[in-house]
């Protein structure tokens, strides 16, 4: 057990970290409820709570609605598709890496690592030119492909690590018990790998969801522009009014899916960390 002093020390550290992490979120949350005219009066909380900003981005007559809603649709669609593709491909790849001995195994892993640490900004300009020439510029596919380059490597690495933890004997035992390879995979491996796959999917989704550089460079209209890029195009009601309120409201709206996902998969993520002991 911890002594009282240790407990107090941990409490202080915890509070500091929470403030550090949550202050910007709370600040944006507060700002999103401020009147545009009251943005610069210097208080943290709004003087008069208002939903003007939300009406502006979501309401039927909102000025930023035509900018925000298509962007939200693009973001959800593109992120979900790139996550799904990344997880399916990474599951198969990671399973092979963890279970089979084949030439080029290390090459696959190091290439994945290389791709994931390659600076995004240096590839954007050439990609912009290529995409324009082959007609992928400003399309969903035009974003999904570069997103895969971000999500696949990390998915392969996390899943490979996860599959390596699952004892191979389980699969062999299932085969001896009368299962086909596919049954052994489905009944013995998938239930154990599910938490890992969920966790990986979540990470991949956030990477795609949060991207800004590809989003702003490879799109030009609301046909494919994702939310982080769309936020940059918000304008105030007049030249003298900052769009800060609307941007904050949009930021709050796009944070909601993330929170929902974490709450939804919380159990899987936690069990992914605790399950796995076979011998003990």
């Amino acid at each position: 057990m911890m002594t009282t002093r240790q407990r107090v020390a941990w409490g202080v550290i915890l509070v500091l970290v929470m403030v550090w992490a949550l202050f910007p979120v709370v600040s944006i949350f507060a700002t999103s409820f401020k009147l545009p005219s009251e943005l610069n009066i210097g208080t943290f909380w709004p003087k008069t709570w208002t939903t003007t900003n939300y009406e502006q981005i979501l309401g039927p007559d909102g000025s930023a609605r035509d900018l925000f809603l298509p962007a939200l649709r693009n973001s959800i669609g593109i992120s979900l598709i790139s996550t799904a593709v990344a997880v399916v491909l990474a599951t198969i790849a990671a399973y092979a890496i963890a279970r089979l001995d084949f030439p080029g195994k290390r090459l696959v892993l190091t290439t994945a690592l290389g791709v994931s640490i390659f600076p995004v900004i240096s590839i954007v300009t050439p990609l912009f030119n290529v995409w324009r020439n082959i007609g992928l510029y400003d399309t969903w596919l035009g974003l999904i492909i570069p997103y895969l380059s971000l999500t696949l490597p990390i998915s392969i690495w996390t899943l490979a690590a996860f599959f390596r933890q699952i004892p191979w004997e389980l699969e062999q035992a299932a085969q001896v018990d009368g299962a086909t390879s596919w049954q052994a995979f489905r009944k013995a491996i998938v239930p154990l790998a599910a938490p890992g796959v969920f966790t990986t999917a979540l990470i991949a989704f956030f990477i795609a969801w949060n991207d800004f550089v590809y989003g702003i460079s490879l799109t030009s209209t609301s046909a494919a522009r994702p939310v982080p890029a769309a936020l940059a195009f918000f304008t105030g009601a007049s030249q003298f009014e900052e769009p800060t309120g609307a941007i904050s409201a949009a930021a709050v709206v796009v944070t909601i899916p993330v929170v929902i996902l974490v709450l939804l998969f919380q159990r899987q993520i936690v069990s992914g960390l605790t399950q796995g002991a076979v011998k003990g």
Binding site: P167, A173, A174, Q175, V176, D177, G178, T180
Partner: protein, 423 residues
């Protein structure tokens, strides 16, 4: 129920390393056969080839009358217990045991599965744990669940891969008798891999000793103990292990480091070198020594006695182990060192282990008079390792007797089973 026949089974790994070099073995229906050997001898590989988890490079594997080389594991109708049990952590004990039944897709109704699992659980005393997850069980319970999964379906044979190595000593002893009882009762052909020679000796109807992928000897435990074919088998079987000392053959006499003894008939016949002298390896089991002061007069004359400086003694209640250091002969030192390495030894000092009666008053540092029965000593050729005192007829007789005993005890088990079912 089925016999298992191995014909010249060879396993070469991708890098060309030969793990199993042409093993032939006939396992009869209902027989309990042990594959034993030091680590890296290929025993687990052999088992995994039987069950189908490793490809067979060459040779033939028959289960019953069917050649099984290219069949998938699930088509071989074998049940296996893995070293780390390989329980499915996401399933309850009940579902773990029911797993093989559920895979048969509609062959069993839900009621039948329930009945079968409960019968298996009752055999292994797991009834109270059926709804628990493997993670919450003790090592012994997990081991029993793994066995439950094997016995729940009507497998042709059971395969065990070092099933007790993760248990502590006491539990290991209990599970050992449990496995023996279960096998006798069910009469199912069983192949059991272990590196532990106690398990090999106590469980097996027959024991196959492997060394570096080659079969050394297949015999009953008593056959291996009393009539080992070579130095390796002699050194591997028995605990504490057999003592190996250099013995110089001079006519009819063997000069040992601590005294002389008459050379056994077979050795005399094999003859010495050009000058009639030859250095051999003499193997004497610790229990073939005795404290001379405790022997009756008549018995003393049947053997040879010698004076020995006892270095250390260990009193175990039933026995007293005395350790006697001796100088080895350089001619056979290399053979003995190599043997020690093969047996996973540590290459420590050369010493005799002498098992004396626990009444003996010999203590550390004493000079004791030790008696030895030369008829029980074995003599080995240092080059080939061959046992020169091997008596093929005696070995055959021991194994024949063993086979009779096995059949009798199987019949008794079946009779008891029938009686229990009738009442």
């Amino acid at each position: 129920m089925a016999s298992i026949t191995l014909k010249d089974i060879v396993k070469k790994y991708g890098d060309g390393f030969p793990a199993v070099k042409g093993v032939s073995l006939d396992i009869k229906d209902g027989e309990f056969v042990i594959l034993v050997g030091p680590s890296g001898c290929g025993k687990s590989t052999l088992l995994r080839m039987i069950v189908g988890l490793e490809d067979i490079t060459s040779g033939d594997l028959y289960i019953g009358e069917t050649r099984m080389n290219d069949r998938a594991p699930r088509d071989r109708k074998l049940a296996m217990v893995f070293q780390n049990y390989a329980l499915y952590p996401h399933l309850t004990v009940f579902e773990n045991i029911a797993f093989p039944l559920r895979l048969t897709k509609g062959q069993f109704s839900e009621d039948e599965i329930k009945r079968k699992v409960e019968t298996a659980a009752a055999t292994l005393e797991l009834q109270d744990h059926l709804q628990r997850k493997p993670a919450n069980l003790s090592g012994g319970q997990r081991q029993r669940v793994a066995m439950g999964r094997a016995i729940v379906r009507d497998a042709d044979a059971f395969l065990f891969d070092e099933p007790l190595s993760n248990l502590d000593a006491k539990l290991r002893g209990q599970m050992r008798t449990e496995i023996a009882r279960m096998q006798r009762r069910m009469g199912t052909t069983t192949v059991y891999v272990t590196h532990d020679q106690t398990e090999a000796m106590t469980l097996g109807d027959r024991v196959a000793v492997l060394r570096k992928g080659e079969l050394q000897q297949v015999a009953s435990p008593r056959g291996l103990y009393e009539q080992p074919v070579n130095l390796f088998v002699a050194g591997f079987i028995g605990s504490p292990p057999m003592n190996f000392v250099p013995g110089e053959l001079d006519g009819d006499t063997l000069h040992l480091p601590f005294g002389d003894m008459p050379a056994p008939e077979a050795v005399r016949r094999s003859g010495g070198g050009s000058d009639g002298r030859r250095v051999l390896v003499v193997g004497i089991r610790p229990e073939h020594f005795e404290d001379a002061s405790l022997l009756e007069e008549g018995k003393k004359d049947t053997g040879v006695t010698f004076e020995a400086n006892v270095d250390v003694t260990e009193w175990l209640g039933s026995d007293l182990y005395a350790y006697v250091p001796f100088e080895t002969n350089p001619d056979v030192a290399k053979t003995l060192e190599e043997l020690d390495r093969d047996l996973d030894g540590e290459g420590l000092r050369t010493q005799l282990v002498v098992a004396l009666s626990s009444e003996s008053r010999v203590r550390d540092g004493d000079t004791a008079t030790i008696w030895l029965d030369p008829a029980k000593a074995m003599v080995f050729d240092p080059e080939s390792g061959e046992n020169l005192t091997f008596d093929a007829d005696a070995a055959k007789e021991i194994d024949a007797q063993n086979e009779v005993d096995r059949k009798a005890s199987l019949e008794r088990a079946h009779a008891r089973e029938a009686a229990a079912a009738a009442s």
